[in-house]
């Protein structure tokens, strides 16, 4: 039995990221490490609501909501020891929004007019129109501040062969798909106060080890071959909570939802009756239990009730489980049962193809849904893709429906992402194109009056729910498991990432 060396924290995870350049990667696997290697201007607290100072010690918003002025800390240095200045911030943020960088999440920076340095430690962020989400968006790792010299030196290989940020840990080495090693940033003491108790890192080395097999990961954790992981097989969560040698931590304010989206302009699923019937036919309760074993809640609405902007009325519009009702809906819409047990209408078989990124959960619940739908005479064909290829596939029009899971911060954040007609074909893969929705979303984003914003986002929610554009599946919980020698692990959950800056983590042995 080989325990890990003292002061080396071994973090187990399922998959590796393709690179660690903040604006170029959208993978959670990239974010996990980037948060430890670099900092953002502002940080998000454990309540998932409060924005806290990080690199910016304070900031002001102009009354028209269009200009943000950030005052930077003066004691921050990069891993190579060079002090960080406003130039670095401007460079990093401009690089994020630069089309040449081809960041897939550029829109998260808002409708930027200009980002400029007023002096060595002051940055002005000017928008074309108000963007209420901005501070939330700037907590995400895409907006991490990196060292300009390193980026220019490494070019495409920044975040592949090296990295230089201001985070609590520094890049030591990366063996793709195997292991990522970080070492402590010796002078780091600017951890977000109010979020963490300790502003400085406590561990000398951090090893991110990829262990794809879930059972292996589990066993490794329990035998001390790994210290921390958030990639716990769902089935194990309840059991691990009872284990004395494992410490479990849950984030209650966690918004990570699974859903199935329908391409509303493809045959079969373009029929609202079919979409409604699907929503009614699937026993969400049962499949969520069978997939997550209590580590997720059935999603009976498009959003988490705890999220800012949630509309209860819209939630009531999502149909309840009613298999007989689903049959009736289909019968009324003219879908007749065919000889092979699949319904037919006007010579069209009630069959549709669903794409998904290969995960164990998706595989499990899709099979369950498939069985449920078969009972009402709908055939759902499943095609799963590996993550690297899958995203490309999901940008096409080859499929009729897809499943996905995603993190969000607010209702407006979530809905603007998926239901804005401008976001077709991705991330609006449903091809949802409704002027009314678009208008409501714009209003929710740009209005300065919070009440107007709330009403607008509620309107959008109702439209979408009425049309059954999605089938909401589940709200996942976030758990982190830590070995007995590890203390101070607390699940955070920003962008689905549990450890965030990992500042309070200590090793006792």
């Amino acid at each position: 039995q080989a325990a890990n060396p003292r002061n080396t924290l071994v973090i187990l995870r399922e998959i590796d990221a393709d690179n660690y350049d903040p604006p170029r990667s959208t993978a959670r696997g990239a974010g996990e490490v980037i948060y430890m290697m670099s900092d953002t201007l502002v940080a998000l607290d454990f309540d998932m609501q409060t924005v806290r100072p990080l690199l910016a010690e304070r900031w002001e918003i102009s009354p028209d909501g269009k200009t943000y002025t950030f005052h930077l800390r003066r004691d921050v240095t990069f891993c190579d020891g060079r002090p960080m200045t406003a130039d670095d911030v401007v460079y990093s943020l401009n690089r994020f929004i630069d089309p040449a960088t081809r960041s897939p999440v550029r829109w998260r920076a808002g409708p930027v007019k200009e980002i400029r340095a007023r002096d060595q430690f002051t940055v002005e962020y000017e928008l074309n129109e108000p963007f209420g989400e901005l501070l939330f968006q700037l907590t995400l790792f895409f907006a991490s501040i990196v060292d300009r010299n390193s980026v220019e030196r490494l070019g495409q290989n920044f975040g592949v062969q090296g990295f230089n940020g201001t985070g609590p840990y520094c890049w030591a080495s990366w063996t793709p798909r195997q292991e990522m090693v970080l070492t402590r940033h010796p002078t780091y003491n600017w951890g977000p106060s109010g979020v963490y108790q300790n502003p400085a890192p406590q561990v000398d080395r951090v090893v991110w080890r990829v262990t794809p097999e879930s059972q292996t990961r589990l066993a490794a954790l329990q035998t001390g071959q790994g210290d921390v992981t958030q990639y716990i097989p769902y089935i194990a969560i309840q059991q691990l909570r009872r284990q004395p040698n494992v410490r479990m931590s849950q984030q209650e304010n966690y918004f990570w939802d699974h859903f199935m989206g329908f391409k509303v302009d493809k045959p079969v699923v373009s029929d609202p009756a079919v979409r409604r019937a699907i929503n009614m036919a699937v026993n969400r309760e049962a499949i969520v239990r069978a997939t997550w074993f209590g580590a997720a809640t059935p999603a009976d609405a498009y959003l988490n009730p705890n999220v800012t902007g949630f509309d209860a009325e819209a939630a009531r519009l999502v149909p309840r489980f009613d298999q007989a009702g689903a049959q009736r809906v289909l019968d009324e819409a003219g879908w007749r049962m065919g000889p092979d047990g699949i319904r037919v209408k006007d010579g069209q078989r009630a069959t549709f193809l669903v794409y998904g990124i290969q995960t164990q959960a998706a595989q499990q619940y899709l099979q369950s849904m498939q069985a449920d739908l078969r009972r009402i005479g709908l055939e759902m064909r499943i095609q799963m893709w590996d993550a690297t290829v899958g995203w490309g596939r999901l940008a096409t029009q080859e499929f009729d429906a897809f499943v996905m899971s995603y993190p969000y911060v607010t209702a407006t954040d979530a809905f603007s992402l998926y239901f804005n007609s401008r976001n077709r074909p991705t991330p609006n893969r449903m091809n949802w194109n409704d002027p009314e929705t678009d208008r409501a979303l714009t209003e929710a984003q740009t209005s300065v009056d919070p009440a107007v914003r709330a009403a607008a986002i509620a309107r959008a929610q109702r439209i979408v729910a009425e049309n059954n554009v999605w089938f909401p599946v589940a709200r996942e919980q976030l758990w982190v498991a830590a070995s007995a020698r590890t203390e101070g692990v607390r699940a955070h959950g920003i962008y689905g990432i549990a450890l965030y800056k990992g500042l309070d983590i200590r090793l006792t042995r």
């Binding site: 059972q215 049962a286 069978a290 595989q363 499990q364 099979q367 498939q370 069985a371 078969r374 590996d386």
Partner: protein, 291 residues
Amino acid sequence: MSATTETEEPIAPPRPGVLARLIREPAAAVSLALVTLIIAAAVFAPLLAPTDPYDNDLSLAMQPPGSEGLPLGADAQGRDMITRLVYGLRVSLLMGFAAVLLGGGLGALLGFLAAFYHRWLDGPIMRLVDILLSFPAILVGLAIAAIFGPGIFSVVLALSVATVPLMARIVRGSAMVVMRLDYIEAARATGMTDARLIWKHLAPNCLSAIFVFATLRFGQVILLGSALSFLGLGAQPPVPELGAMASEGRNFLFFAPHIAVVPCVLIFIVVLAFNVLGDALRDALDPRLRV
């Protein structure tokens, strides 16, 4: 004239048939019975299976073996393991048969041609075989899955491709031996066509080698197929295939081990049965061991 009479005596005793020699060995008899049983189970899967292989009952998910009405338990979807197993057997065997038939057929053809037209074709064919042989089966599987996407089709194609060079070698080897025998010359001396010569005289006498290899290969193919499924390149859910089932079940190994273990054990039994049968056939067909 006494030279043209033959006294009344059958010189060799009636030799026991291959079957008789096969079942003389207990292990072989058991394996033969098992193989028959396995094939029968696969063929009559719809009659044997207690439930629909695609119909789930989530309330029964992961019921351990021995639960009421579920002698082997249920899988993560609450589907009866027995149902899944017999249908899985069906898919796996079909996969194996298809691969061995396709790859073996092509390989045998190549082998016959290389041996028969030794002068011109042996070199080119054997170089091709060498090249094919340099791609281990799993690699072929990976490459083909990359081309056609994961699925049964890819697995069958990959395993067929991987079987071709092996079969070609075996057949060539045994055909070369047969080609040296006088009855081939005798047949040629009667003036028959090459096709008839291959079909009537060469091929039947290589059959035992082909048959033995095919049974052994069948086991390997099932094993390889399940390995490909394990790597996520094989049958896609909800299609029941033993390797894919084991692969799915491994996520619950510590909690509901039967989901992975039962298909593994079945794979083991199937492969074992075919291996033992292949070995026994080899012994039964080996002229040196004939009595």
